[in-house]
C-alpha cells in the first residue's frame, strides 16, 4: 500500500513537469499533501498518539489545505498570469525529471543499508532534485516558492524513512516545514506582489556591485 502511495507521489512529479497552468501546480501540491497524510498514517503506526495526531494535522491541514488556499489567493490577488512560463519546453522538463528518477533508482540500488527503506529513499531524493530543477527552470518567483514546497515534501518523505526509530527528527522536519513556509509565504510573497507588479525573477537584479 505504501509503495502504491509513494509511486503515485512520483507520478505527481511527472505531472508537475508538464503542467502549464499555475493552478495545476497548486492542486498537485495539495494532492501531495493528501498522499503524505496516508503514507504517515500507515508508516508511523508505532509512535505515540499525540505525536501522530500532530503529524497528521500538519500534513492534512497545513500542506494540503492552508498552503494551497493561500497560494491560490496570491495568484488571484496579484493577477499572476495563468501560464507557468518555463525556460525550457515541457518535453525537455519531462525528460530531465525522468533522468533524475532513473539516476536516483540506480544510486539507491548501489547502497547496502538495512536501516533504510529503498523506495522512500528513491522518492525522497527524486522529489528533492526535481524541486531544485523546478526552481532553476521557472521564471516566476511564485514557482520558485512552489519548487521549494516540493523540496520540503521530499525532505518530509526522507524523514519518514528514519522516522520510526527517531521520531524527534520527523518533528524537527515539521518544524522546518512550518517555519520556512510561513516565513517565505506569509511575510514576503504579499509584499513582493505589491512592489514588483509582474512577478518575474528578472526584476530581482537591482543589487549590484557598482
Amino acid at each position: 500500500m505504501i509503495a502504491v502511495l509513494l509511486i503515485t507521489f512520483l507520478i505527481t512529479l511527472f505531472y508537475m513537469a508538464i503542467a502549464n497552468r499555475m493552478l495545476t501546480y497548486v492542486k498537485v501540491l495539495a494532492l501531495q499533501g493528501v498522499l503524505l497524510f496516508f503514507v504517515v498514517f500507515i508508516q508511523l503506526s508505532e509512535i505515540n498518539v499525540v505525536n501522530l495526531i500532530f503529524i497528521l494535522l500538519e500534513t492534512i491541514i497545513f500542506k494540503s489545505i492552508a498552503v494551497p488556499l493561500f497560494l491560490a489567493y496570491i495568484l488571484k490577488r496579484n493577477r499572476i498570469t495563468r501560464e507557468a512560463e518555463p525556460f525550457l519546453p515541457n518535453f525537455v522538463s519531462l525528460i530531465i525529471t525522468t533522468v533524475i528518477v532513473v539516476a536516483t533508482i540506480l544510486l539507491a540500488n548501489s547502497i547496502q543499508e538495512p536501516h533504510l527503506d529503498k523506495i522512500f529513499f528513491v522518492v525522497a531524493l527524486s522529489t528533492l532534485f526535481t524541486g531544485l530543477y523546478f526552481i532553476a527552470s521557472r521564471r516566476k518567483i511564485i514557482t520558485h516558492v512552489m519548487g521549494y514546497l516540493v523540496i520540503e515534501n521530499g525532505v518530509f518523505v526522507l524523514s519518514l524513512a528514519v522516522g520510526n526509530e527517531m521520531p524527534m527528527l520527523v518533528n524537527l522536519g515539521i518544524m522546518l516545514d512550518i517555519f520556512a513556509s510561513v516565513l517565505i509565504l506569509g511575510i514576503f510573497l504579499n509584499k513582493i506582489g505589491d512592489v514588483f507588479k509582474d512577478i518575474d525573477v528578472n526584476q530581482l537584479s537591482n543589487l549590484k556591485d557598482y
Binding site: L116, Y148, M166, L169, L172, L176, F179, K191, D209
Partner: protein, 476 residues
Amino acid sequence: MITLIYLIVAFSIAIALFINKNKIINYSLLGLFLMIQWGFTIYACLHFHATELDYFTFDALGILLLITLSVISIPAAIHGFLYIQNQQGPARSRSIFFAAIVGLITAIGAGYLSNHIAVTWIFTELTTLFASALIYHHRNKLALEGTWKYVFICAISITFIFIGILFLSLSLMHAGSSDLSFQNLLANSDKLNPYWLRLAFLFIFTGFTAKLGLVPMYTAGIDAKDTAPGPAAALLSSVLMNLGFVGIFRFYSVVANTSLHHWASLVIGIAAFLSVFVAAVYMIKVKNIKRMFAYSGIEHMGLVMLGLAAGGVGYYAAVLHIVLHALVKSSLFFQYNQIYKVFKTKNIYQIGNYFKYNTTGALVILLGFISATAMPPSGLFVSEFLIFRSLFEANQIIVLILILLLLTMIIYAFGKNIFKILFLPAVGFNEDSAPHISPWESLTQYILLAGAIYLGLNPPVEFVNLINESIMHLPI
C-alpha cells in the same frame, strides 16, 4: 536553569520591544537586555564546562565566541541607537529594529552554546527570521530584493542541513545509538558508517556556508549586508558568520576523528580556495563600500577554512582568526554609518577626502584597512601568518602561492578603494552640506580594533587556553 531563564527573558524582551512603540521604554529595554546578556556571559564563564537544559554546554569554543558576541553587542546597541535617532523613522520600524537585534543576538548566543546538532540547527533557523527583519528595515524595493534572496537561500540551506542531519542519523544507527549530541558523535566516531557520514558532511557543510559566507552559498549574505542598516550588517558580518563557523567546526571535529578526515579537509579546502578566488574577482570591480567589506569577509572566511583544512597549527589560527575578524569587520561596518552620514551614498566614486570631514573616523577606516589586510601591527597578521605556516607544513606550496597571489590582488583592490575614500576628492560632493560628526562616535571602533591588536600580539593566557581547548578534539 539560568539558561532557560535567560532565553525566556531575552525573547520576552524582544517581544516587548516588538509590541511597544514608546521610545523611552524601547531604549530602557535594550539597556536591560545588554545587562542580561553580560550577566549570562559572566555566569557562563563562572560555570565553565557545565551543561544546562541538556542541550547547552558552556564549552571552550562556545564561551570564547559568546564573549566576542557580548563585546560586539554593546557597540551594536549604541550604533543602532545613533542610527535610529539620526534616521527619524516611524516608531514601528524602530521597535521592529531593536526587537530583531535582541532576538538575533540571543539566537546566535544560544546557537554557540548548544551541544546538539539539531539544536544548533534550530537556532540557525531562528537567526534567519531575525536577520530578515533587519534586512527589510528600509522597506523599499532594494531591501525587499535583498530580503527575498536571503530568506530563500537560507531556507534552502537550512533544508540542506536538515537532510544532512537525517543522513547523519542513518550513519549513527550503525553505531547502535540515536543521540545526535556532538559528544555522543565524538564518542562513537569510529563506528559511524562512512558512506552516510560523507553525504551528511556534504549537506551540512553546504547548508552552513550560507551563514558562514563561503562558496557555494555566499551570495545571499552579500546582498543582506548591502541592504541591512550598518549596525545590523556589522552583526551579520561578524557574529552571525561565527555561528556558521561553529556549526561546521563542531561537525568537522567529529568527521576528523573518522577515516574521512582527509576527504573532509579536501572538501573544505576546495570551498575555501574558491571563496578567496571569488572574493578577489569581485573586490577588483566592486564600487559599493558595503559590498566591498562583505567580500572582504568572504576572503577571511576562506582563509579560516584553509587553516582548518591544513590542520596542525592551522586549527589554532582558524579559531584565533575568526575572533579577531569579528572585531575588525564589525568596527568597519560601524564606521560605515558615519561615512553615509557625511556623503549620503554607498558608491565609492562619490565618497572621498574623508580625512577632511571626519578625521577620527578616517583613522578608523585606515586602521581597519590595515587590520583587515593583515598588515603587521594588527592581530590578524599573526593568525594569517600561522595559517600560511600550516599550509606550508601541510606541503601545500602551490595552494599557498596561489592564495598569496590572490591576497595581493585583494589588498591592491581594497587599498585602491580605501585610499580613494580617504584622500582623493569626491565627485560632485557639496562641501557645505557635510555635517559635523562627533569624534565620540568612533570610540567603540577604536576599542574593537585595539582589542584585535592586543589579542593577536599579546594574547592573555586564558584566551590561548580557551582556543587550545576548543581544538583539543581535532587530531594533530
